[in-house]
């Protein structure tokens, strides 16, 4: 149908057809995609079957040896465990914080722009710099937080120095960083809920704010919340900056997170074949998480 209108135009562009023009326009992007994304990603998979080390001549094909070593590697198991605990702490907490802040801000007209700006501030701040500020705040002896705790007669943990606390402290910084981001996404979801539904729910007997939240807000916010959950999980599983700045995985590997472990294995120890195997596992985990969560979306979005 559209093709009938085409020839007149085609006459004016005699040198290339639409298809040729489209490929020409896409060519730079396609070339860059192949060179910088697709080939390197396939190369990671290929490298993971070798014992390649930068600077050493010749790499051997070792089959699944790297993967077998990963299974035996206590440090890697520790890193995966830490990452699971970390994501399990950061994702729910920063989603809950984002939801709480969004609901509180939307519950009234005053201070909307002001509070939204403040809670969003960490998103545009450089984490390396802010982590340094947190490190001073949480310094075991000269930090204001512990000074306040001392004044209240409470215990003063060594926030980044003790293996019991370090993951919690880093997690707290990540929650601080992600809450405002989630808040803005959730606020966008809240604005999309038609006002009449609240009035209708009230007439139908939903008198309390909690009843209205349960009957209207929560079900209609479903798709937004699943989206926020996916993003937050992926953002927290990739945490690197705070670890690299503050703890380098210490003390005693208590704050080794997967991306930092990959970085160290690949770029400090230069065992790139082995690090590539870790990367493949990391990518598989990220893809699996996305798949599980999108499956949940499909089930949830249709409101049962």
């Amino acid at each position: 149908m559209v093709d009938a209108a085409r020839p007149a135009v085609a006459f004016r562009t005699p040198r290339f057809g639409e298809g040729a023009a489209a490929w020409l326009l896409s060519l730079p992007a396609v070339a860059a995609y192949l060179l910088l994304l697709l080939i390197p990603t396939l190369a990671v998979a290929a490298l993971s079957f070798t014992d390649f080390e930068l600077g050493l001549p010749g790499a051997r094909f070792v089959g699944f040896e790297n993967y077998a070593e990963l299974l035996r590697d206590r440090g890697f198991a520790k890193s995966v465990g830490n990452t699971l605990v970390f994501v399990g702490l950061v994702a729910p907490a920063s989603i809950a914080a984002g939801l709480g802040l969004a609901l509180l801000i939307e519950a009234g007209a005053r201070g909307r722009t002001f509070f939204r700006a403040i809670f969003f501030l960490p998103v545009v701040s450089m984490i390396v710099a802010m982590a340094t500020a947190w490190q001073y705040l949480l310094h075991p002896t000269i930090g204001p937080v512990n000074a306040a705790l001392r004044a209240l007669g409470l215990g003063t943990p060594n926030w980044f120095g003790s293996s019991d606390w370090v993951l919690t402290s880093l997690g707290f910084i990540s929650i601080w960083e992600n809450a405002g981001f989630n808040m803005v996404l959730i606020m966008a979801g809240l604005t999309a809920i038609p006002r009449e539904l609240y009035a209708a729910a009230e007439i139908d007997g939903a008198k309390s704010a909690w009843a209205r939240f349960r009957l209207v807000t929560w079900p209609l916010l479903g798709p937004t919340m699943v989206f926020v959950t996916i993003i937050t999980t992926i953002r927290s599983i990739r945490t690197f900056d705070t670890v690299a700045t503050l703890t380098q995985g210490g003390p005693n590997k208590a704050s080794e997170l997967i991306v930092y472990t990959i970085y160290q294995e690949g770029f400090t120890f230069l065992r790139m074949g082995y690090a590539a195997a870790m990367t493949v596992v990391f990518l598989a985990a990220v893809l699996a998480l996305m798949l599980i969560q999108t499956r949940l979306v499909e089930r949830r979005v249709h409101y049962g």
């Binding site: 896409s26 190369a43 545009v124 340094t132 705040l137 900056d241």
Partner: protein
């Protein structure tokens, strides 16, 4: 949400928000405070934010004297600028082609774009590093910027945006004798500003603060990005001189935070609209 309320009835809500805001602002307040305090006050663990002796000149002076912080900031601007320029140059025409042109392979191409969205930037890092090392390109702007020249997210964003562009507009341009390339430049591009601005903010925020990749490909001080600069100053020069360290942290944080406070709505729109890539 449920109509206007009196100040009094609104007070509990504002109080809770106020306390949360104070917690969020805590590191900013102390970063600024410590950056103008002398050493003795920093180490006294006092809870007062304001310094007894004003020590700003000494702390900030020490940063400028000991590290080329201006150079780091310029590097940050150059790298972010290069990345953004290439991302736009690659993604705008591709996004237009995917949205408005019919061609064989379009669905496959778009499927690859969606596939690319799933891959975190850490995944291709090892082969890219090996390639840059073999090409002798470590410690160059090329190594810092090149891996991010392609943004599948930008292609996806512009494709969605251009789909909303009226077909009549493009048909009219074709009748005027414009080729597809000049349609991109003279019809699509001028209409793409909202999407381009949003993407630009997202991209600059992400790459100004990035640590992972610069840490891998840069070992020489004159190519340090702001994030590397702070890390280096922390490890090598500042020691336990928190005053100077916080002065350095303030200097690298201020540019984006100031831009954010000036164009708050655009920033929030840009980063959340592009939130998909996180």
């Amino acid at each position: 949400m449920y109509g206007r309320r009196s100040w009094f009835a609104d007070l509990p809500r504002l109080a809770i928000l106020g306390i949360c805001a104070a917690v969020v602002l805590l590191p900013y307040a102390w970063m600024l405070a410590v950056s103008v305090k002398p050493r003795s006050e920093v180490f006294s663990a006092a809870l007062s934010l304001l310094p007894e002796v004003w020590y700003a000149a000494e702390n900030y002076g020490r940063v400028f004297a000991e590290v080329p912080i201006g150079r780091y900031l310029v590097n940050g601007v150059v790298v972010c600028g290069l990345i953004l320029a290439f991302q736009l140059a690659f993604a705008l025409p591709a996004g237009y082609a995917l949205a408005k042109l019919r061609f064989r392979g379009r669905e496959t191409l778009f499927a690859f774009v969606m596939l690319g969205l799933l891959v975190p930037a850490h995944v291709p890092a090892i082969p890219l590093y090996i390639a840059f090392a073999n090409a002798g390109l470590l410690n160059t702007y090329t190594a810092l910027a090149a891996p991010f020249a392609i943004s599948v997210f930008a292609i996806f964003l512009f494709r969605q945006f251009f789909r909303a562009l009226p077909d009549d507009l493009i048909a009219a341009a074709r009748i005027d004798g414009m080729g597809e390339a000049s349609i991109v430049l003279r019809v699509a591009l001028p209409n793409a500003w909202p999407a381009a601005t949003a993407f630009a903010i997202f991209s600059v925020v992400a790459h100004w603060s990035d640590l992972f990749w610069p840490l891998i490909v840069v070992t020489k001080g004159d190519l340090y990005t702001p994030a590397l600069g702070v890390l280096y100053f922390r490890a090598e020069e500042a020691g336990d001189d928190y005053g100077a360290l916080m002065a350095a942290a303030t200097l690298v944080t201020v540019p984006l935070v100031a831009a954010f406070l000036l164009a708050q709505r655009r920033f929030i729109e840009g980063i959340t609209m592009t939130g998909l890539k996180g």
